[in-house]
């Protein structure tokens, strides 16, 4: 029996039996729904005021209601909210072995530790990219229901590509969350790291150096800091994110392989 396949089957079973996938799916559904509401408001602000969707004093009338703008909202929400939600998923996958005290049962087995860690990363990838894909598909349905103008296959294709690229970059930053969940033996250090890296990413992006900081790259790419910010992202940014991925994954594996598991 393939060791990795066994470990992946185990991780899938643990996830399937948990409420966490459902909770994260519900949380991520908010992204296209809120985007759809925003489009309704932008399409006809006066009607939205009448319906009570926005206050009479609201200034939320800047922007256009079209598919590129809608995808922009989805991408920014994935970049910002995804950072925290993906971190929650990663913290859960890695940290639960400590909160359930099952870590001691997975260290001395014929299935090597690297296979278990690789399976956890694979599940995290499947889960987070699956959430992003789900948000995109729901976004298409919501967009169609709201009847946003400006649809074209090229716009959808470009919107999908950018969204999934942001999701992939966000996922590639998760090994550090896994490392904190492992070395910190639980969820809290991992979530603490996620908040810290999120805040640091905003500050460094504001300072104009975000294209060099891996944690800023998805936010910049999403257009959160304007078209100029998105244009900053280049090959060097992808390399930085890739290095962060390799460093985080390597450190996590090394931690599981080499440290004393005395607790």
């Amino acid at each position: 029996m393939n060791r990795f396949a066994s470990a992946f089957w185990v991780e899938m079973l643990k996830a399937r039996r948990s409420k966490a996938p459902l909770l994260t799916a519900v949380a991520f559904t908010i992204v296209p729904v809120v985007g759809g509401l925003l489009m309704i408001i932008l399409k006809d602000p006066e009607a939205a005021r009448t319906m009570g969707l926005i206050s009479q004093k609201s200034q939320l009338t800047v922007g256009t209601a079209d598919w590129p703008a809608y995808f922009g909202v989805l991408q920014q929400s994935t970049a910002m909210g995804g950072t925290m939600l993906f971190a929650f998923v990663t913290a859960w996958v890695f940290g639960r072995e400590f909160s359930d005290r099952t870590v001691k049962d997975i260290l001395s087995l014929p299935t090597p530790r690297w296979a278990i860690i690789a399976a956890k990363f694979a599940l995290t990838a499947l889960w987070t990219l699956g959430l992003s894909l789900m948000a995109f598909l729901i976004g298409l349905a919501v967009g169609a229901a709201v009847d946003i103008p400006g649809w074209s296959p090229a716009v959808v294709s470009s919107g999908f590509e950018t969204l999934m690229r942001i999701a992939l970059l966000n996922y590639m930053l998760m090994p550090f969350v896994a490392l904190f969940a492992s070395a910190g033996r639980g969820y809290l250090p991992a979530l603490g790291w996620a908040v810290f890296s999120f805040v640091a990413a905003q500050i460094v992006s504001l300072l104009g150096w975000g294209d060099w900081l891996p944690w800023s790259v998805p936010v910049l790419l999403s257009g959160m800091f304007g078209p100029a910010g998105a244009e900053q992202v280049g090959a060097h940014s992808t390399i930085m994110v890739s290095l962060a991925f390799l460093a985080g994954a390597g450190a996590t594996l090394a931690w599981w392989q080499c440290v004393d598991h005395a607790r």
Binding site: S6, D100, T102, P112, A262
Partner: protein, 303 residues
């Protein structure tokens, strides 16, 4: 078959704390080795070193003739273990938890899960979530996981923890039959001295990180041996009378000890003898030294 467990000068230091200090152990195949120690004596650290979970600061560990760790290296397909309190994924059923263990053990035989459930008496709870199990059944689940792949060596940390008296007897019988009938080696730590006393064929006592004593099967048996304790007003006269009658009395403080079978089986005859000799006993009792007495004496002496 070679040694089941062999440690040479095993030491583990955590910062300023020397948790285990120069422990050299040899556990032979088929033995039930009881590993006794107070809380913090170094039992669990030793067990974690045996399982490659921690890297020794000094010394070596071999399990089933293979070097252990680092990087999780070891003969883990032939070893079953239960370290400290049992754990399980709470939202998964007993069967699913064991199915996870089966997959990670690389067992292709799907019946192994049902066999372990039956062996540990978990059939009524097989489809119950682990999170709602009683502590005793949770412990059984941990033991089932350790036994699932029919290992050659069982390394168990406090296997009787949380079990009710009937469960303790059941697990004791199970471990004994595994050792006798299947030749499985059992290395078990416990603070329940009576359990170790009843089950172990060899005992190691660890105190403050040092292996202070090892008792082989004969010494363990000797510990369990009974003796006749006699007290009298004139101990000298009583000893003389017993010697003249062919007994071999031993003085022990304010009492005389007889460990001959005829004295233990017929204390009434010893009493009659002493009465006839004009030195009647003030106390006459068949006593059995317990492992507990020995353990407490040893750990107090070592400080």
């Amino acid at each position: 078959m070679g040694t089941a467990i062999e440690t040479k000068g095993l030491s583990k230091v955590f910062g300023q704390v020397r948790a285990v200090d120069g422990v050299s152990l040899n556990v032979e195949p088929g033995e039930i080795y009881g590993f006794l120690g107070l809380n913090g004596a170094g039992k669990t650290t030793t067990i974690r070193a045996l399982l490659g979970m921690i890297r020794p600061s000094a010394g070596s560990v071999r399990v089933l003739e293979q070097p252990v760790g680092p990087n999780g290296r070891g003969p883990w397909g032939r070893v079953g273990h239960l370290v400290e309190a049992p754990a399980a994924y709470p939202e998964l059923t007993v069967r699913e938890n064991l199915e996870i263990a089966r997959r990670l053990q690389g067992l292709s035989d799907k019946r192994a899960t049902s066999r372990a459930i039956e062996q540990l008496g978990l059939t009524p709870y097989a489809d119950r979530k682990a999170g709602v199990l009683s502590m005793g059944n949770f412990q059984r689940l941990g033991l089932a996981r350790a036994l699932l792949h029919e290992p050659e060596l069982l390394i168990l940390d406090e296997p009787a923890n949380g079990l009710d008296p009937a469960g303790v007897v059941e697990i004791r019988d199970l471990l004994r039959s595994l050792a006798r009938e299947k030749g499985i080696t059992v290395f078990m730590s416990s603070h329940i001295l009576t359990e170790v006393d009843r089950l172990a064929t060899r005992i190691g006592i660890i105190h403050q990180g040092h292996l202070v004593e090892e008792l082989d099967s004969q010494e363990v048996e000797a510990l369990r041996s009974r003796r006749l304790e006699i007290r009298a007003r004139d101990l000298g006269a009583a000893r003389d009378a017993l010697t003249q009658a062919g007994y071999a009395p031993k003085a022990d403080g304010g009492k005389i000890l007889l460990d001959e079978r005829r004295a233990i089986d017929s204390p009434d005859q010893v009493a009659a003898l002493l009465v006839e000799a004009g030195t009647p006993p003030t106390r006459l009792a068949v006593e059995q030294q317990s492992l507990e007495d020995h353990f407490m004496h040893l750990t107090r002496r070592e400080g």
